[in-house]
Symmetry: none
C-alpha cells in the first residue's frame, strides 16, 4: 500500500510538497485566527508578538517562519477577512433568484450580516490600513473593490432591466458598502436601538426609495415599506 501510494503519477516528492503546503497553510491560518482574536481585544499596535504567540499556541520564533514580521501578520489578517467576505457574499446572492433588485437587496442584507459576524475585523480594516506599506494598502483597496462586485453587478442588472433609473452604479455600490460598514463603525450608536434586520430594512428603504422607478415600485413594496 505504501509503495503504491508512492508510485502515483505525482510521485513522492509531489506528495511531500503537497503535505508541506497544507501544513504551511494550516499554520498560517492558526496564527491569523489568533491575530484576529488578539487584535479585537487590544488593537494592532498594542498586540505584542509574544501575546500573539501565546494566543496561537506557538512560539514567537515560529511566527517569523510564516510571516515576514508584525506588519505582514496585519496584512494577512485583513486580506483574510476580505477574502471571507468575497467567499460568502456570492453564494448568498446566487440563492436570491433572478430579479436583480431582489438580488441587490439580498446581497446588502448578507453583507451587513457578514459585517455583524466580523465587527472587529471590519473596524480593524479602517483603523490599521494606514499602518501597511503602500503595496499592502494597494492590495487591500483592490480586494475591497472586488468584494463589492456582486452588488455592483446586481445594480447594473436592475438598471438594464429598467427597474432602476440611470444612476451612478459605482457611487451607489460604494454607499451601500459604507452603510454596511457603518453597522460596525458606529455600532455604539446603532446597536442599542436597532436590530440587524431593522437596520437592513431601513437602509434598503432609503437606498432603493430614490432609485426604483415609480411604475416598478409596487412589485418591490415589501422592500420600500
Amino acid at each position: 500500500m505504501e509503495a503504491m501510494a508512492r508510485t502515483t503519477e505525482t510521485g513522492p516528492a509531489a506528495v511531500d510538497e503537497a503535505v508541506r503546503a497544507v501544513r504551511v497553510s494550516s499554520r498560517r491560518r492558526q496564527i491569523l485566527d489568533a491575530a484576529v482574536r488578539v487584535m479585537q481585544r487590544t488593537g494592532f499596535h498594542q498586540m505584542s508578538m509574544q501575546a500573539l504567540a501565546d494566543e496561537a499556541q506557538v512560539s514567537v520564533g515560529l511566527i517569523y517562519k510564516y510571516f515576514g514580521g508584525k506588519e505582514d501578520v496585519l496584512l494577512g489578517t485583513i486580506v483574510g477577512i476580505l477574502d471571507a467576505f468575497q467567499d460568502m457574499l456570492e453564494p448568498a446572492m446566487a440563492g436570491a433568484g433572478d430579479d436583480p433588485v431582489e438580488r441587490f437587496a439580498a446581497g446588502f442584507r448578507r453583507y451587513v450580516e457578514i459585517v455583524d459576524e466580523n465587527l472587529d475585523a471590519v473596524v480593524l480594516t479602517y483603523r490599521e490600513s494606514r499602518t501597511l506599506t503602500p503595496a499592502g494598502r494597494a492590495r487591500i483597496k483592490e480586494l475591497e473593490i472586488s468584494t463589492a462586485a456582486p452588488l455592483r453587478d446586481a445594480l447594473a442588472g436592475a438598471i438594464r432591466a429598467g427597474a432602476v433609473g440611470e444612476v451612478d452604479v459605482d457611487l451607489v455600490t460604494f454607499d451601500a458598502m459604507m452603510l454596511a460598514h457603518a453597522w460596525a463603525l458606529k455600532r455604539w450608536h446603532f446597536s442599542p436601538r436597532w436590530s440587524l434586520g431593522d437596520y437592513c430594512a431601513a437602509q434598503l428603504r432609503l437606498l432603493l426609495g430614490g432609485l426604483i422607478v415609480p411604475e416598478h415600485a409596487p412589485r418591490y413594496a415589501h422592500l420600500l415599506g
Copy 2:
C-alpha cells in the same frame, strides 16, 4: 509701573488669572495644532512626544504641564477637530435661508467641505478612537452627535413642513454624516474621479431622491437633478 498694573478695577489676581488663561489656551492650541500636523504625517502611534515638542517649538516637559499625557493630547486633538466642525457648520446653515430642505442641503455641502479641509483629522477620528479611554470615547461620541444636530434639525423641519415624508430622522442624519466622512475615508477611491461639488450633488440626489414627497419635488428640482 508694576504697582499700577496691579491696581485695575478687576484686581491684580483676576488680571493675572485672565492672562494666564489666555496663555494656557494659546499654549494648548500651539501644541494641539502641532499635534494635528505631526499626526497627519505619521499617525498617532508613530508620533513621539519629542517630535511633537519639536514641531510645537516647546520642550517635552512643557507638554506635560498642559496635557496629562500622550493620550490626552490625542483626545484634545480629536475634540478640537469636532469643535471646529460644530463652529463652522451652524453659520453655514444659518446663511442658507428658511427652507429646511435647502438648509439640509447647504449643511451637507458644508459638512463635506469641512471634511475636505480636515481629511486627515477625520481619518484620525476613526483610526485612533479606540486608543482613548472609555471616558474619552464617550466624550467623542457625544460631540459627534451634537455636531450633526443642525442637520438633524433641518431634516425634522422638512418633515414638519411636509416636504419630506415620515422617515427616521436619526438614521438619515447618520447616513448623511457617514457619506460625508466617506469623502475622507475612501478618498483613494473617489478623489481621482469626483470633484467635491459633483460628489455632494450626487450624494444629495440619492439622499433626497427617496425622501422628498412627489408634490414638492419640482421646487427642489435643482437638488434632485
Copy 3:
C-alpha cells in the same frame, strides 16, 4: 560678580553652551571608559547594552543620547585608545634628546609600554575593526598611521644623519609597530618568559642591528648589545 561673569564678551549663552559641552564630553568619557572595561571582560559582541549601562552607572537609554548605537560605542572606544597613544608618544620622544636613533629607541620603548598599559584595548583594535562600517574603518586606519608618525620621523632623521642606511622608512616603522602590538597580541607566548624591558631591548637589537651603519655602531653599543 555673577552679573560680571554674565557680561563677558562670550555672554551667558556661550557659557551655557560650554557647560553643556563639558557635560556631554564627560558623559561620553564615562561611557567609553566603562565600555573598555566591559569589552576587556567579554569582547564587543558579548557586551550587552544593559551590561554597559550597569558598568557605566547610567541607564540604557542615556547611552543612546550620546552614541548612535552599539557600533558607535565601539568606534568611540577604539578612537579613544588611538588618541591616547598619540597623546602619550610624542612627549616621551621629545624628552629623549636630539639623536634620532635614541629618539627612535625611546619611542619604541614608550610605544610598547603604552601597549602594555592597554593590552586589551590593542587586542580590541585587531579583533573588532571589521565590525565597523567602512567609514569607521577608514578613520581607524588614518589614526593608526598618524600614531606612528613620530617613530617614522625619527627614523627618517636617522637616515638623514647618516646613522642608518637607506631603508624603507615606512616598512620599518610598520614593523616596529607590529612588534609593539605583538606584545599584546601574543602575550600568552611572551609574557611568561620576557620582561617588558628585555622584550624592548631584544626587539630593538634586532631592528637596529641591520640598520645602523657599521661606523656609527660603537656609539649605539648600548642599544645593539
Copy 4:
C-alpha cells in the same frame, strides 16, 4: 552477497568503520570548507547556522551530528587552517636545499604565500580566538608554535653552522611569523604599494641584515640586497 561482503579479512565491522570514518571526514570537511567561505564573507558572529547549512548544502541538524555547536565549528575551522599551514610549509622548505639560511628564507617566503592564499583565515585566527573556550585557545596556541617549527629549526641550523650569530631563536621566529601575518592583518596598508615578492624580499633583508655574520654576508648577497 551481503554475507560475502561481511567476510573480508578485516571483518565487516572494520570496513563499515572505515567507510564511516571517510564519510564523517568528508562531511566535516564539506562543512568546514563552507564555514571558511561564510566567515570570510560575514565573520563568525554574523554567520548563522542556517547560513552555514545552506552554504554546505546540508540541513542544520546535520551540522550538529558532526560538531558540538557553533563554537566547535569555529575551532575546527581555525585548526583546519593551521593544519594546512603545517602541511604546506615543510615540503616547501625541504625543496630549498641544505643551506639553513636559504631554507629559512624559502620558508618565510612560503609562509607569506600561504598567508596570502588564506588572507581571511589568518585574520579570522586573530579576530575570533577569544571566542573559543580556554581549552580551544590552548590548542590553537600549540598549533601556532608547531606551525613555525620548521622556521625555528632552520634558524637554529644557521646558528650552528655559524652563518648567524647567537640570537634568540624563539624571538626571531616569532617576529618572522608576525611579519608574515602582518601581510594579512595590515593588507589595507601594504597591498596597494607592495607586491608579495617585494614584501618578502624587503622583510627578509631587514630580518637577516642584523643576523648574518659579516664574513658570510657575501654568500647571501642575493638575500641582503
